[in-house]
């Protein structure tokens, strides 16, 4: 009765040179799939794309991710559902809880309130990019040591917000820690330990 594939090893979006060349060729075709509005905007000098699928290329954790998605797909949904990067979570989907926090061009942002298409050309970091194998990022290690998590659903967002905080203020004061994390909510109520974890982080360089 076991499912066909091991759920712990789902399909991974793979980036190949072939797909890169393919999408480079396709980008000029994208102009053909837009409608009347595009013709109007062409005269204004800026190209309108969509509303159907368009090629979107993102740089995520240093790797290139090629997608074909509609302009309306958020950065969060694009990575979670088309690139199987499910570390960051969708919780409120309205930019109020921080579970979707990623670091884009060095700043913590709500990826649910950012379009994938407008994130092209930026350095996107998700929680998956912080650790390699068993080696955890100092912030991640501090969270584990302080038991700064329970169900863990808010944790990737808090970790990313904490990383952004430490990269800006390597030895943050208590006030800076609270302010830096005020964009994140935990329903299990682990704030006390999240703050303790942040006070114990060592070894994060200013970005």
């Amino acid at each position: 009765m076991a499912p066909k594939d091991d759920p712990e090893k789902p399909e991974r979006f793979s980036v190949t040179r072939r797909s890169f060349l393919k999408t480079a060729g396709l980008s000029s075709l994208a102009a053909g799939v837009t409608g009347v509005a595009e013709a109007e905007a062409q005269t204004a000098g800026a190209r309108v794309v969509g509303p159907g699928d368009v090629p979107v290329t993102l740089t995520v954790n240093g790797r290139r991710v090629d997608l074909r998605i509609e302009p309306r797909v958020t950065l969060l949904d694009a990575l979670r559902t088309r690139a199987d990067l499910t570390g960051n979570k969708r919780v409120c989907d309205r930019g109020t809880c921080g579970a979707c926090t990623m670091i884009v061009d060095g700043r913590a942002v709500y990826s649910c309130s950012t379009l994938a298409i407008e994130s092209q050309g930026k350095q996107i970091r998700t929680v998956e990019g912080l650790s390699t194998g068993a080696n955890l990022h100092p912030v991640q290690q501090a969270f584990c040591d302080a038991d700064a998590l329970m169900c863990g659903f808010c944790t990737p967002g808090f970790v990313m917000a904490s990383v952004a905080l430490h990269e800006k203020h390597p030895n943050p004061t208590l006030e800076q820690i609270k302010r830096g994390l005020d964009g994140n909510i935990c329903r299990c109520g682990t704030f006390t330990r999240i703050i303790e974890a942040n006070q114990k982080v060592r070894g994060v360089a200013r970005a």
Binding site: R47, E70, P71, T96, A108
Partner: protein, 329 residues
Amino acid sequence: MKAFAYVNPTNEKDAVGALGTERGKFLPLAGGQDLLARMKDYVAQPDRLVNVKGALDATIAATPDGGLKIGAAVRIADLAEHAQVARLYPAIAKAAGEVGTPQIRNQGTVGGNINQRPRCWYFRNEEFLCYKKGGNRCFAPAGENQFHAIFGNGPTHIVHPSSVAVPAVAYGAKFRLVSPRGERIVDASEYFTMPTLQNVQSENVLAPDELFTHIILPAPGNVKTGHYEVRYKQSHDWPIAFATVVLTMNGSNIGSARVVMGAVAPVPWRAQAAEQALAGKPIDERSAAAAAEAALQGARPMSQNGYKVQVAKTAVKRAVLQAGGIRTV
């Protein structure tokens, strides 16, 4: 959200050219912290989004007269931490620093903050077809109005949501707008509109094919500034009431004052009676309290929001005292 076409112009002219004349059909996308949420709730259903972040000015520059010109694409986080802004217009830096959360400040822009739509929960829930969505009523008077306006008489009772707008008005800012018809400069105090049945679907004078491009601040002069916000939650909350007070001094007394309140009316609310009460007075507990009382003259609280009157009074009083360097609490 509804599917939309997307364009990412690189200059002001192309950005304006990508908008249209029908309200709500082609919308500018700045930080997205307001617009995308409204679109997910189908309160906004544009056919096209125009990403203006690469087209509008993202710098803060000195003006020849000793003021500052702030581009609409400047991020709120950068506005809050800008040394010149903090030095010349501390209330703007303070207001920007208290917007939302770090993530919102990182994404949100000056133009977006000024032009964001109200937080009113009737406006933001599709089920309530209110005036602002083309309906024929406002649900607040008979409903849950604890966060609604204490000034004004309808037809809508929203409070203007922008933090930065209030000190902008207090410092006498002007806004630069650009459309196919050219450029116009509008006083901040005239940009925001009290609601009428005709203008109710907007909160300001910006036309659908017009872009907000700059806040232009005059040289501040020799002023003392106070800015006080009252929030229930400390972590992430909208203010219950707040006030910016800019005092032009005449020796040790106040020469003239500008007192502007936020979160109490559909527009940043100039409290002229408070300004008159302060003129010629020293900055002390008595004048601050008198200004606070005067500021709330004419308040018309609704069934659930009478408490806002007291909170707003406190915000004005403490902003005045802060301007005088007097410890508040």
